[in-house]
Symmetry: none
């Protein structure tokens, strides 16, 4: 009997390149991963290009592809997914930005892009600006962790074809500029630039900032915006593919993608989206979620962080902790559950950034056509029975695996 | 550190099929190739469909794909690439043909398609016809090696949707016919047919031909045209991908493709585009070019010639000579240089023509994810870590390798 339920685990940025200094091994090869190795031996493996060969994926575009959406159609920028990830309810057509509380001096120079990594008082600051209407466009401002905010423009005739107001380094405040000649882009710039000026006026003498100045801390006296994106129409994953899905995800960007895909995305205690995340708690939540859901989508961010930091050992130990979580999952699922493990992209330690190297892929459960791969690592799985696939192939393959797929033809 | 410069070697037609009579080996398997085998052992390998599975590539369309152009968009015929390859400066929209000096009798029968492989006097003949204007269309005629010419029509309202005037075997002269109902195709036929008649008139009593008849040689008394193609708009490779490229290529067709891709294509002494080419001279030129360029594209034509001739041993020995050149390259590049070796298509000895069998692919240098392949041949590399790619994937993969790739998403 093929499985009727699936756990789909994405180990963020797990794949890597061979490091000579580490005995010509990748972190995944070097890590002790008895559970994933055993799943590889009992399952079927392959490699996958999340977007396509040579295309360096973002976490966002890769996850969209893995969930069956065409990132070339639905992705215009990171803003909407970040906004959805911190719980903002977006409407199709909303223009969303990531934002920072920042410090600007009297000459318009941004002296601290994070306002001293402000932690407290940001809710009170946001309250002063959230909901203002400028030229008929409603501005929604929500504070996220520390200095982070999300900023949404809602209304008619606006566009994401605009530049950031964030200068990205200590520099003069950047005015928002249109990236095309449309009236919508010009209008959006006007609204955002007016909002930026308004934020300076409103925040200047706010009690929170008066106290910060008194304490010798940089005031949060401006809101900077970057990463404009238009909230796409994304038909719910449940409707497109016929699953009853849930996402066990910590990091905001991926929470946002899953939310916009119409998935339930509960908070799991101890799941931080960082290297300190409680992986076992996530594994337990995933297994528990199988009672009510037939597709449990998981993201574990930790290996990506080691990759970005260029820290082989951190990445390796994150992978070993994932392997323990996978051991828990395997021990606690019944034979009607299939398990698919992959990554959203490579984040090679020597590159400290995403790369387009293909990622390993493993499917374990009833109904897979097994192969001779005995270990779960980049080199071993390249010999696997699945060959080289693309991210967009995964959802159809899952459909077929659980026997939901419809025949094309007779 | 990933490489910052690349040598990209295309061994023309190198791939083949298994020959029972040769111990179930391909020429590449049978050849002694210690250098390429060692690169395979230290690098990563795979197989590649230059255009797509089952699509039998031309050298031209395959090279276009390898250089990142879509041959389905830019390729309408071989003419423009041949013309550019012999140094003609083409303009987008020019209709170019390959041409032959040929011999036609009084009844309009082509008795020798190559005018006795005429070698001398062709410059003088071409001078009589080059630059004539017919119905407002300028005809450019340039002589190439031996009996070969290129013929370009330049002007408004012309098309490449026309048949050849070359009968392709000893036969009556073919009139050029339109392949569609457009006015442009009809006009092009008219111009080409008038030019053909003009060539007969002008060449008939030309001193070169009077002498040939006296010497008992067939006169070059007509110009035949074939392979009409419209010169495409090709944005320079440097602009599209951000490389500073150079091509070390002998054979005219590929020289033309590289020229139309905006690449510098120097003449290398001893590089003939034939089996007699000085491969070591090309290898030296390639290594030398790394001083000023970050992408050195090489084509070595020789193995293709053995394949077309059905000559296993000739093909094998060409490959062994390539391996020596590769040995020179490996010994003379620093660790910031990556090396990619592949073929543009298979030219199997038993087929004596191009086939769609995938070609071997090898990437050697810092930053590749190595695999367990130990030899460079069609069978061994099919087990490689790259799996099965397409020609169009190569440029993006190179971008990613040297860390020029932009991330799609965040």
């Amino acid at each position: 009997m093929p499985p009727s339920r699936i756990i789909f685990l994405v180990c963020d940025g797990m794949a890597d390149r061979t490091l000579k200094a580490k005995g010509n091994r990748t972190p995944l090869e070097a890590a002790r991963t008895p559970n994933m190795d055993s799943l590889a031996a009992d399952g079927v493996c392959g490699i996958m290009d999340p977007i396509g060969p040579g295309i360096r994926p973002g976490s966002d575009t890769a996850h969209l592809a893995l969930l069956g959406y065409d990132p070339y159609k639905v992705y215009t920028g990171r803003g909407p997914f970040e906004a959805a990830g911190v719980g903002l309810e977006l409407k199709s057509g909303d223009i969303a930005f990531r934002g920072n509380w920042a410090t600007v001096d009297a000459k318009g120079r941004v002296t601290d892009r994070r306002a001293g990594r402000i932690k407290e008082g940001t809710e009170a600051l946001a309250k002063e600006l959230d909901g203002v209407v400028i030229d008929g466009i409603t501005v929604i401002l929500k504070t996220a962790t520390e200095h982070r905010t999300v900023l949404v423009l809602r209304g008619k005739g606006i566009s994401c074809q605009v530049t950031d107001t964030d200068p990205h380094k200590e520099n003069l405040l950047a005015g928002c500029k249109a990236l095309d000649n449309s009236a919508a882009a010009k209008k959006t710039c006007n609204v955002l630039n007016k909002f930026t000026e308004l934020s300076k006026k409103v925040l200047k003498d706010h009690p929170v900032n008066q106290q910060r100045v008194k304490d010798g801390l940089p005031p949060a006296n401006i809101v900077l915006a970057r990463g404009a994106g238009m909230t796409p129409e994304m038909p719910p994953l449940a409707k497109v593919w016929g699953w009853d899905p849930i996402a066990i995800v910590g990091v905001a960007l991926i929470r946002g993608i899953c939310t916009l895909a119409g998935m339930e995305v509960p908070f799991v205690k101890g799941a931080t989206g960082g290297v300190d995340t409680d992986m076992l708690a996530k594994a337990k939540a995933a297994v528990g979620a199988l009672k009510k859901h037939d597709l449990v989508f998981m993201n574990i961010k930790a290996p990506d962080i080691g990759g970005h930091d260029g820290n082989f050992d951190l990445k390796m130990s994150s992978i070993e902790r994932i392997d323990e979580a996978v051991g828990y999952i395997r021990a606690n699922i019944s034979s009607d559950v299939g398990l698919i493990i992959t990554a959203d992209h490579s984040t090679p330690v020597p590159v400290k950034n995403h790369s387009a190297d293909p990622v390993p892929l493993l499917m374990y459960g009833e109904g897979v056509r097994t192969d001779d791969v005995k270990a779960f690592n980049e080199k071993a799985v390249a010999q696997g029975g699945l060959g080289r696939l693309k991210g967009k192939d995964i959802m159809p393959i899952l459909q077929d695996w659980v026997d939901k797929a419809e025949k094309f033809g007779a």
